[in-house]
Each structure stands twice: as structure tokens, then as C-alpha cells.
Amino acid sequence: MKAGNTIAGLALGLGLASSSLVAQDQDPIKVGVLHSLSGTMAISETTLKDTVLMMIEEQNQNGGLLGRQIEPVVVDPASDWPLFAERARELLVQEEVDVIFGAWTSVSRKSVLPVIEELDGLLYYPVQYEGEESSENVFYTGAAPNQQAIPVMDYLMEAYGIERWVLAGTDYVYPRTTNRILESYLKMLDVADEDIMINYTPFGHSDWQSIVSEIRRFGSAGRRTAVISTINGDANVPFYRELSNQGISPLDIPVVAFSVGEQELSGVDTGPLVGHMAAWNYFQSVETEANAQFIEHWHEFIGNDERVTNDPMEATYIGFNMWVKAVEQAGTTDVAAVEDAMIGIEVPNLSGGMAVMNENHHLSKPVLIGEIQDDGQFEVVWETRDLIPGDAWSDFLPGSRDFISDWTPPIECGKYNTETETCESQDY
């Protein structure tokens, strides 16, 4: 092999092109995939691993990237948050990957962040999250709170005339931050304290009797009530079952979930859920050419026509395509060059229109609200007219209102105080 290269090099360029250089140019580009394949989060993250592999396969079939093949390096952080940091270090130091696609929970992202920044890696994070963060080395392709939560509140007030709110969530950083943002948004709109009920439950909470009964009482005070659910993962099924068993239909008290998508519904008897809602930037039922192709391709790749697609998959799709485009534009996989090229890059959404990467490393995306149907799919009942730019620092939290993130000169800062015009440090 090496001898062959040497001969080729000699034949090509009077021995000017060194053999090792040619060899390196034909080495595959390494892409790290950092998703849990075992443990509690395997249910969600395995799908994203497969999505990245599918995108890589497709890219390779179309001639690779910069004339080189792409080689995936898959590791399993096993739903263990500190292990995410270790595996990320392994990917960057030992495997020397050029980019990492990965992480799901906020705590896993926060665990990876210091490693990525220290070793100057590049991470594409594909899940909706609570915001209040912006790293130079991370591109956030999921929704920030203003791209999911805030539009939902406006829709519920307008279409349902909701006046009382239950903010129910699992007890961890994403629901807590989101609910803080929502609460101060509601207060801004003069919703009284007694019209907001906040409830947190542990991960995997399974006995919802007393909480649902509480919600029912709260919701029968004669004014329209809705539940904003940031309940995560496995706790959702018993929650919806209890709602329907206690006779609460979406017509009485609609539930809008931020963490329930097609994937979560695929292992569920959806009868009791019909009519409840979810807000995302993508639904499998969206009728566009790109989406139809994507779904077909996905079924082919995974070998199962029953498998659904969901929002984090679209975010992965967008992230991967953006990275490919940025690398092509920069002509190299060098992190700094790709980071610069990323800003302003546009790739098509699966849900129609173009996604744009902004200076704050967040996307501009459309927001959709869907009602759950009995086949586990969503009927889109509302969508934003324009793309909504993701906001890293919420305008509705007292502490973060003055901050912006802008990674282009002259600011080049993830937490820039517009009042004092200084760059503040972030502790993840």
C-alpha cells in the first residue's frame, strides 16, 4: 500500500508530493458518534446514532467529503453522565475525530462541554434544550425555549382561551429552567400566582393518581386550564393513562408536551392520548418532498417500515448537512475554519423552508404544534409564519435578559452583557 502510494507519488509529481501527504489526503474523515446505546437513554439515543450512520452512508455513496470517505467512530457512554466526558476525550485524543455528533440530556451535554472546549473539538447537539448557554465549540440544532415553549403559550391563549396553567415537569435542569422562563413570561402577561400550578416529579415517576387528581381540581375552577408538560421519557405513559382513566380529555384540559414525539409514542397505546398536543420543529406527518425522501431512506436503512422519525432526527439531519456544507466551503475539516464557515450556512429543513445558522450558534427554525392522532402521529394544527431565530439567553428571565451570544467579530463571546458591554465567563 505504502509502496504503491510512493510509486504513484513519484509518477505524479517528480517526487515533490511526499508519499505521506498523499496518504493523509486519502485517509477517511473521522466522525465521532457520542450517543448512549445502553442504559436509560438508549431508548432515545440509539435512533440518533442510526441517523448519523445513515447520513454518513449516504454522503459516502455520493463521493464522500473533500474527495475522502467519512468513517464513523461510535462509542457508548451508557447513559452515564461522567462517562460522556471520558468518551468525548477518547474520541478527540485517541481517535482524533474531526467532529462529534452526540449527547441528549442537558446534563450529558454539560459534562462534555469542558472537554470539547479544552481540546478544541466540535460538537453538534441535536435536542431541544433550556438555553442559557452558548459555547464556541458547540452548534445547537435543537430548539431553544423561545422556539418551542413561548409560541405554545401564545397559541393556547389565542385558540383555547387558556387562563390557568399547570407547569408539570420532571425534576431536572431542562424542565426547571423552562418552567422558570414560562412562569416569568406568564407573570409578564399579568397571570396571577394562584392561576399557575407548578409540579415536579422524579425521573420515571409511575404513580400519578394524586397529582392528576390535583390537576383535575385545579382545572375545574370554571376557567380554561392547560397543562404544559416537560415530563420526560418513561413517566409520560402512566401520566397520560391516569389522565384518561380519571376522565380528563383534551377537551377539558389539554396537555402540551415538549418531550413527547413520535418515538416516545411508538411504544404506547395511543388511545388515551388522542387530542393532546406537542410542540416541535418537525413532525413525521409534515408533507414535504424532502421529508418523504428522508422517511423512505430511513426505512430502507433501518430495514423496518414501522420505525418513526422525530424532531431530534431532523436536528441531526440539519446538523450533519450543515457540517458537510461548512467543510466543503472551508475546504478543510479544521475546527476553527469550520466554525467560521458555519455562521450563515443554510440547509433545507425537512419541515419545509431553510434552516439558518446564526451568530449565536443556534438555528432559525419554524415552530409547529401537533395534535396526537390514534396512529401515534401528529396532525399539525398550527405553525409559525416565519422562521424563529433561537435565543441562547432568554429574554424572559431576569438574570439573562441583558446577555446575547455572538461568535463573530467584534464580539466573539457566548455570554456578552449588552449593558456593560463586557464578555462574561460561563460555568457549565
Binding site: Y200, P202, G204, Q209, D234, R241, N245, G267, D269, M277
Partner: protein
């Protein structure tokens, strides 16, 4: 014979069709409205529905109901509204949505799904309630009347008055009179009439009644000037709230019992193995999971018979979990006899192996276990208190399991051996009991019971690889609290922990309640390390 019959029915159907055709062609607007409905967007559908109700009236009821269930389709070929329902596996039956006659020419790919959203569903339920108030069966009439309490206005009052004329059922009449009394309180001028209305409303528990009365209290939003009325309203509110509080207490008690039975089902198998063998089985949760997966597999194997599959799943889950349990005992635990720490680690490893095996075999995704019809919904005792069917089922199921276990332990020779071994292993051995065999059987029994618990859990929560982990901590808590190896202890432990949690949760939140419970257990075992009902006998020391 059958051929003549089918011809005859065909003829009748044709005759009927021509009759209805004639009737419909006399009113072309309905036909064209139906056409419009198929093409309209969600917003336009609302107004089309209103027009359909005014011109079609009661005939539209089956159409509305089909539409509400999401089974309504428009057949472009015949221009008819069709009801398509899945019938067993992959087969669809089509019927005309208005007349109910069965259609065979409908091809599934050529129909347009009439989509509904919540706003439409609301309109549909209102329209249906207006018809059902007059014509439904008792429970439909009751529900319809009750739904009108939410919005007492001129239209609903007229309907209620009309319904009162024909209504014979006492329970429905009461609700109708409630609605009319609400109307009188709001609009009547005569003080006595309004006081009478309040006296009537005071007897009720419906939330809209309470909301209305609250508005007429001295500092309510209605700004009532008549102090006598306001005073009476305040008293009535007080009275209703007192009764509601009582029922809420009962409700919480029942919630506690139902959580208790879940905890019991999860923990009792552990209590048996822990008590007899002193083995801390960390893979116990996975036995629950195996039981739940057995339910799933059986449902997959007999798709048409969801309601019966559960009965088959119970013995199957017992067998599967029991044989895995015996296998673990024979292959691993037996060799670690008397080394509790190693046993704990080994069973923890087994638990991880089982989880990952399920992930590989079934995928890491949750599997869909359908609840039979008779397990969803609830029995309503009054507007404040109702019992959900699945919880009732699980409660009685737990009682049956308890009785069965009692029987096995007290009345069979296996039970006698088990009790003998658990009281004094060496003495039992000296008496000629094959303790090895008893150990294996006990482990099988404990695991099998956990498998049955898994069948019950599959009706409440997700069937996924993590199912067991969610219950293992609670199970240990119950066993430690109640005292290992003591059936009575497990029962008391499960039900008292369940009830206490349901009473604490509403005021403190689920997270704090969890912390509080673990703290309580830590403090508790300081004083009673052997639990509420410790093992007696010499070996227990």
C-alpha cells in the same frame, strides 16, 4: 339457502338505498355540505358542522359520532361519507356513516380521511350532547346534562327544560334540575325563588355549581347586593366544600390502597426469597420486566384477542419468570452460598445482563401493551369521587395473589418446607428436607410471583428494559420496612407506605415525598433493624 338470503338482503339494501337517496335528494344541501366537509380545512369544518346540525338535525348523530372517533372518511367514487373501522388484523370494514349500511366497494386507498382537531371535537361533543340529552341511554343522558352545566345559557336552558318534560330517570332529572336552578339563581328576580335555588344547589357536588355559588358569596365576583342570598350562598359553599373534603379524603385513601397493591405485587416475591434464603436479589426487578414482556409477546401472538390475552399472560409470565429464577439460583446463587456481598454483586450483574439482553432482542424502545377495554375508564360514585377500573383490578388482583401465596405457604408441603428452612436451615436439613431443592423452588416461586406482578405493571406503566429498575428500590423499601420473609409484614409495609405517600404527595410534591420516605426508612431501621414484623426463632438471631 344462504345465497337466497344474501340476494334478499341485497335487494332490501338497494330498496333502502333508493329510499334514503330520495330523502336526501329532497334536501340537496346536506349532500353538498358533505362534499364541502371533505375538502374543508379545519376552520371551515366548524361552520359546515353547524349547518349540518341545523339542516340535518338528529340524523347527523351517527356521522358526528364517527367523526369524533376519527373513523370518518370520504369516498370520492361514490361521494358518500364512510365509516372505516379496523377489524382484527389488517382487515377494514366499511359502513355508510349516515345510514350504517355495510359497503364493500370501498377501497381503502381511495378514501379521504376527514381529520379532526380539538376545536372540532369540542363542537362535535356539544352537538352530540344536545341530541343525546333527549335520545341517549341513561348514562349518555346523564353525561349530556352534566356537560351542559359547564355553560348555562339561553340555549342550554331551553334544551334542559325540554328534556325535563320527557325524562323519567331520577338521576338525570336531578342534574337537569340543578342546571335549571343555576339558571334561576343567575336570572330570577324573586328573592325566595333564588333562595330555593341555592337550597337545591347546596345538595350537589358538581364543580360548576360550586363555582357559580362562589360568585354569589359576599365577596364573590358577581357583586351580589342581596345579603340574604349572599349569606345563603356562602353557607352553601361551606357545606359543599365540607362534603368534598370528606370525599377527597376517601379518594386519597383509595389511591393509597392502589399504590399499596402495586408495591405489594412488586415486593412480595422479593420478600419470599429474601426471607427464606437471605439472598439479596438485585435482579428481582428484571423478573417484573420479564413478566411484562411475556404479556407483550402473548398479545403479539394473539392480536384479535386482547381482552383474553391477559388471562393467558398470567400463568405464562409466572412460568417464564420462575424458570429464569430457578436457572439463576442453580447456576449462580447456589455457588455463592453464605456470601451475601458476592451474591449481591452477582445478581446486580445478572440484572444488567438481562436488561441488555432485552434491549438486543426487543430493541431499546418501549413495547406497546394494549389495555383491554374493561380496564380503562372509571366507576363514578359521585362527581367528586370515582374509582378507576385498572386500579380496582390491580387491587383485587393483589388480594388474590396474597390469598394464593398464603395457601401455598400454609397448606402445602412445599410451604411447610419453605417455612421450616426459613426458620432454621440446619435443623430442617437434619430432618431430611432437601434444602437445595427448597431453595430452588422458593427462588422460582418468588421470581414467578414477580413475573405476575409484571403482568399487572404492564397495564400501568411502560414495558421497556428499564421497567425493573423503577421498582427495585421501592420493593426493597417495602421488604425492609415490613420485615423480610413475612407475608403479613409485606402487606402492611406496602399498604402503609402506599397510603402515606398518597397523603404526603399533594402537599409536598413527589420529589420531596421520595426523599422523606428514604429518610424515614433510614431512621426506622436504626430502631427496628428487622422491620415491623421480624422473623422469630433461634435462627433469626
Amino acid at each position: 339457502m344462504s345465497r337466497t338470503f344474501s340476494r334478499l338482503s341485497l335487494f332490501l339494501a338497494l330498496l333502502w338505498m333508493s329510499v334514503t337517496d330520495a330523502a336526501e335528494s329532497g334536501d340537496p344541501s346536506i349532500d353538498s355540505l358533505l362534499q364541502d366537509l371533505a375538502q374543508a380545512n379545519l376552520m371551515e369544518k366548524v361552520s359546515i358542522l353547524e349547518q349540518l346540525e341545523t339542516s340535518g338535525g338528529r340524523d347527523m348523530l351517527p356521522l358526528f359520532q364517527t367523526m369524533l372517533q376519527g373513523d370518518l372518511y370520504f369516498d370520492e367514487a361514490s361521494g358518500r361519507m364512510v365509516r372505516l373501522v379496523e377489524d382484527g388484523e389488517d382487515a377494514m370494514t366499511a359502513t355508510d356513516a349516515l345510514t350504517g349500511e355495510s359497503l364493500e366497494s370501498v377501497v381503502e386507498d381511495q378514501v379521504v380521511d376527514i381529520r379532526v382537531n380539538n376545536l372540532l371535537r369540542m363542537r362535535l361533543t356539544e352537538s352530540i350532547a344536545r341530541v343525546e340529552l333527549m335520545e341517549g341511554d341513561v348514562s349518555q343522558r346523564r353525561e349530556a346534562a352534566r356537560s351542559m352545566l359547564d355553560d348555562i345559557n339561553g340555549r342550554s336552558v331551553n334544551l334542559l327544560r325540554e328534556a325535563r318534560e320527557s325524562e323519567t330517570q331520577e338521576s338525570v332529572l336531578k342534574i337537569i334540575n340543578t342546571g335549571l336552578a343555576m339558571h334561576r339563581l343567575t336570572l330570577a328576580d324573586d328573592r325566595q325563588e333564588r333562595l330555593d335555588a341555592i337550597a337545591l344547589l347546596e345538595q350537589r357536588l358538581e364543580r360548576p355549581v360550586l363555582n357559580l355559588l362562589e360568585r354569589y358569596t359576599p365577596d364573590g365576583s358577581a357583586g351580589e347586593t342581596d345579603t340574604a342570598v349572599a349569606g345563603a350562598a356562602a353557607e352553601a359553599v361551606e357545606n359543599i366544600e365540607r362534603r368534598s373534603r370528606f370525599y377527597r379524603f376517601i379518594e386519597q385513601l383509595l389511591f393509597g390502597l392502589s399504590l399499596g397493591s402495586v408495591l405489594f405485587l412488586a415486593a412480595v416475591g422479593l420478600s419470599v426469597t429474601f426471607g427464606v434464603m437471605g439472598v439479596i436479589n438485585m435482579a428481582h426487578g428484571e423478573m417484573l420486566m420479564l413478566g411484562a414482556y411475556t404479556t407483550y409477546v402473548i398479545q403479539q401472538a394473539m392480536p384479535g384477542l386482547i381482552a383474553h390475552s391477559l388471562w393467558l399472560a398470567i400463568p405464562a409470565a409466572f412460568l417464564v419468570a420462575a424458570s429464569v429464577g430457578i436457572l439463576i439460583q442453580r447456576l449462580v446463587i447456589r455457588h455463592l452460598n453464605g456470601r451475601p456481598l458476592e451474591t449481591l454483586l452477582a445478581t446486580f450483574g445478572i440484572s444488567l445482563i438481562l436488561q441488555q439482553t432485552v434491549r438486543v432482542v426487543f430493541s431499546p424502545l418501549n413495547q406497546r401493551v394494549v389495555s383491554p377495554e374493561w380496564m380503562s375508564g372509571s366507576i363514578e360514585i359521585n362527581p367528586v369521587l370515582s374509582l378507576t377500573n385498572n386500579r380496582l383490578f390491580i387491587f383485587f388482583f393483589a388480594l388474590i395473589i396474597l390469598a394464593l401465596l398464603m395457601f401455598i405457604l400454609k397448606k402445602t408441603s412445599l410451604g411447610l418446607n419453605v417455612r421450616a428452612v426459613s426458620q432454621n436451615r440446619n435443623m430442617a436439613k437434619a430432618m431430611g428436607i432437601r434444602t437445595e431443592w427448597v431453595d430452588a423452588m422458593t427462588f422460582g416461586l418468588g421470581s414467578g410471583i414477580a413475573g405476575i406482578g409484571g403482568v399487572a405493571l404492564s397495564q400501568l406503566t411502560n414495558v421497556g428494559p428499564n421497567l425493573g429498575q423503577a421498582y427495585i428500590v421501592d420493593s426493597f423499601m417495602v421488604v425492609v420496612f415490613g420485615g423480610a420473609g413475612n407475608l403479613l409484614g409485606t402487606v402492611v409495609g406496602a399498604f402503609s407506605l402506599g397510603t402515606a405517600r398518597m397523603f404526603i404527595e399533594p402537599s409536598m410534591g413527589a420529589v420531596l415525598a421520595n426523599i422523606l420516605f428514604l429518610l424515614f426508612i433510614i431512621v426506622f431501621i436504626q430502631f427496628r433493624p428487622k422491620g415491623l414484623f421480624p422473623q422469630r426463632g433461634r435462627a433469626a438471631e
